[in-house]
Structures are given as C-alpha cells and as structure tokens.
Subunit: 311 residues, 2 copies
Amino acid sequence: MTINILFAAKYERWTTYEPHLRTALDAKGLSYSIGTDIAPPDVDYIVYAPNSDVQDFAPYTKCKAVLNLWAGVEAVVHNTTLTQPLARMVDHGLTQGMIDWVCGHTLRHHLGMDRHIHGQDGLWREGIVPPLAQDRTVCILGLGALGAACGDKLSYLGFDVRGWSRRQKHIEGITCYSGQDGLNAALSGAEIVILLLPDTPDTENLLNATTLALLAKGASIINPGRGPLIDDAALLQSLDAGQVGHATLDVFRIEPLPNDHPYWAHPNVTVTPHIASETRPKTASEIIAENIYRGEHGLDLLHLVDRNAGY
Amino acid sequence: MTINILFAAKYERWTTYEPHLRTALDAKGLSYSIGTDIAPPDVDYIVYAPNSDVQDFAPYTKCKAVLNLWAGVEAVVHNTTLTQPLARMVDHGLTQGMIDWVCGHTLRHHLGMDRHIHGQDGLWREGIVPPLAQDRTVCILGLGALGAACGDKLSYLGFDVRGWSRRQKHIEGITCYSGQDGLNAALSGAEIVILLLPDTPDTENLLNATTLALLAKGASIINPGRGPLIDDAALLQSLDAGQVGHATLDVFRIEPLPNDHPYWAHPNVTVTPHIASETRPKTASEIIAENIYRGEHGLDLLHLVDRNAGY
C-alpha cells in the first residue's frame, strides 16, 4: 500500500527538499508517493511549513500526522481545523546551527568585539581586558532542545551559565530555575541573556521593563528565539538608558523588519535577518522519514506537540 | 632563611601584582622578601618580564631561576648572560582568555558576522546560510598549552579541527600533524587557520606565499600568537588576490602597529591591539609561588624552557 505524502510549503522549498526526502524515505524502506499536489482525501501525511497554502486541515480526512518543517509551531498549533497529531522539527542541523550562532554572538558580546571590528582607524585601543568566561554570567531563557544544547556548549567554554524553563529541569553545567520566582533569580545580575523560548501567550513580552531592570547594568540581549518574547518599546527604552548595553536580534514581530524600524537605526542594536538557524534539508528529511516510519508501524511520533502547552 | 624575590617588570605592573604575589607566597608558607629593588648578589628568584630593565643576568650570582610573567620567551631565551633556569608562564587565566578570544573570532569568521555587524542599513540580508561547524575545517598551528586548549573547545563546538606541531602530538578531537609534510597536509584546504606557535627561527614566516596558497580559497587567518609567524607582504598579496578572505591579527612585528601600516586600511583585515590574552595577576601569581616553592624544595620547575628549542 502506497503512503501518500503531501509536501506543503512554499514551492521553492520543494526543489530543495525533494531529493533529500526521497533519499531518507528510501532508506527507511517505505513505499510512498510524494508531491505538492495530492487530493486532500488521499493524503496520509503532510510535511508542513506554517506559511504554506494549507490552512484548513478538514479536507485531509485520513491524514495521520502533520510533520512541521520548523521548530516553531505557534502559527499552526491553535488552528482549530487541525485534529491530527502535530510534530515539531527537532533537527540536528538546526540545533548545530543554533549552537554556532548563539556561542558566536555570546563570545562577541563577552569580548566586546565590535569595538575592534568598527575601530580600524589606526588607533591602538589596548587596556580594556574583558573578564574571563568563568566570571561572566549567561542566562538562557528556555531549556528545550535548543536552549539545553547551547547551554551545554557555553558551559564547556567556561561561562557561568544559568537557565530558566517553565518546568524545572536538571542539566549538568547549568544552574536551572523555573517558575516566576525562578525567573527573577535567573535574570538578576545576568550579563548576557539568550532567548530560546517558544512563542506562547505565557512567554509574550517576557522581557519587559520589569524584567530588564533585573539584569546587570549594560547587559547584552541575544534573541534567536521569537520576536514577541520582547516588549520592543521597553527594550528600546532600556537601551537608551544604558541598562541594556547591546541587543542582537534575529527575530521580530514583523519580518523582514521594516526598514524604518528604530532597531535598524539604534547604535546598540544588531539586526540579523532570521538566520540564527534554519532547518537543514538533509538532516530534517531524516527526521520526517523517521516519523512517517513510526506512524506506519504504530510507534510514538518523535517531538509530538502538546497542543495545550502550545509547543 | 628569607628568600629574596626581585620583581623585574615595568613599574606599573608592580602595584597590580604585589598583593596577588604576597597572597600566593603566603599561601605556600614561604618566608620571603619581595620588591623591585634588591641588590643583584642577594636575589634568589627573578619574576621577569622581558621588557624590564634587567637585561644582564651576570650580576645575579646566586639566582636560582628566572620566572617569566609571559607565555612568550623569545626576547629572553637567547640572552647569553642568562645561565639560570628559565620558566615560561602557563597561566590558567591566560589560557582561558585565549580560549575566549580564539573561539570567539573563529565563530565570527565561520558565521560571517561582520556582514551583519556592518550591515545595519535596513536591508534584510537573508539567504546566505553558513555551513555547520562540522563542515568547517579549522587548522591550529601550534599545539602547546594554548593551542591544545583552544582545539579541545573548538572540537567540542563541533568544528572539524586539525592541528600541527613540531613534534607529533596525539590529542583527542584533533587530527594531529607534524613535520614539513604534515604542515602541508594540515594547511591544505583549511578554511580557518589559527596561529599559536612560539616565535623561533624555525617558525618565522611560516605563513608565506607558498603555505597561504595551500588554504581553501577565501580562508580566514587568525593570529593571536606572534607577529613574525606571518610574511606580511605575502599575506597582503593573498588578501588582495582573494586567496585569503579575511585576517584578524592581534600581534605584529612592531607594536603598537604603526598607524600607516597597510593592515589598518585593508578592508579584509581586523587589527586587535595585542589583547587576545594577557597574564592574569591572580592566577599567574599562583604559578610563580608554586615554582618558588618547588625551587626551594628541590622539585622540578613547572614549564621549564628548553633553551635549544627556544620555548
């Protein structure tokens, strides 16, 4: 019996993903048909990007699972037409890419690199010695697959790493906090804050005037997570007041960030264009194939989304 | 019997080091006198910076050891008046600082960060996805205490790490090469090259037109080691030809780097003012005290310099 797999994402993704998906599905020994145009009642699985044309899942009457191509599911998790199981993407390639980006920008802020990258004017700017990593407090908000992986690497690099998550975690090398009191403790005196939380009603504007005031004076904010985690007006005010020294922001409420947004013009903000990490077609295709194999063999899906929690 | 310790470095260092040295010497239970002005025939140990006024060691007739405050000894190792044992500084703080700087700039080049640090003009520059760390070849020239420590961290971050040293080493996570053939193999196709060799006649101009041509097109050079390791004219030519994509240089033949030096003006060179790492007074003082304790108790000195090898 042939498994019908609908690829529902922007069309340009299909040419990138098709060979990787076929390789991964073949490796699992599955008998399948995959494409971008399959009649809804015939579809067994949907490989899904939330910005695709498929927004009404009702016609997909025999669909066994929706397999998200992205880590974030906020744009699909509350779709009331979706009655099928939904799996997030937890891709080794995406995780490694996030580690690279987060560790790189953490070290950039730790070392005060921009001073030298911008200061190529012949002036020998010696005499400012940053503290050692062990004397630098880094706080990671969100200890899911991405936050935990970044925390592990930053801890190995020598940083004093704290983390916060909704549910209490226990991770070697990270001082773990949870709950509202835990949030205040995690943020108090933190010098570099990394946002890797999902976008849910509970996490919206988590970084606001009150929480920003808890940080060490001149702290750096690094946001590769989701735009709505930050109260933008409060962050701009904190930057102007010097409470926050610099913000490197990769995600925004509206993307691309409009070119008249004050973040672009602020001297202490670095905008990056949602590049912190991307799903990598090869490794992501392996996860998709694994989940289809699991679905066909009655096994639990990997990375199943808790629809109530929203991630 | 009181041990007489001469502190021979630029005077401003003394105010920084004195409290740390006293704390460390006290912790070892030693009976000592330490200062910047002790009659040469009375001196038992010299805590030494090569740029100090002491250049003739002959009058220090009962001196048991010269304890260098710096990692590099090229400015003292060939001083023919020096007949006493010479120890290099291998300071935990200096090593950690070097790890921070080297990992930071490696990730900066890996990610192509400057594109975004300089590109805050409202243009959303998406679409350029760097490879993952595992697909990036990093070559460390020099696998002493600093090179090996940086290699360990870069390997843990996921990079494909090779290293080269004069004598063959075996270090987990690093593909180790040695000898002339090994040098060519280590450099062939390398995308990021980190220089952490000592400055000796054998290492002078190690990076030259021939060796630079072995690298991957557009490679990055990171030099926190010593200025003379690089043939400056050859590097500038390689940069102009695009064979080398960027060089981040922390050390130079003449420091401060003269403000009319072409490195300052080159768009693909980042000059940093010999800040990659510094000896940290607290941790360095502990090493000095440990070596004086060892000298007094007939134990081998830590980090003794091989005068023939030059480091």
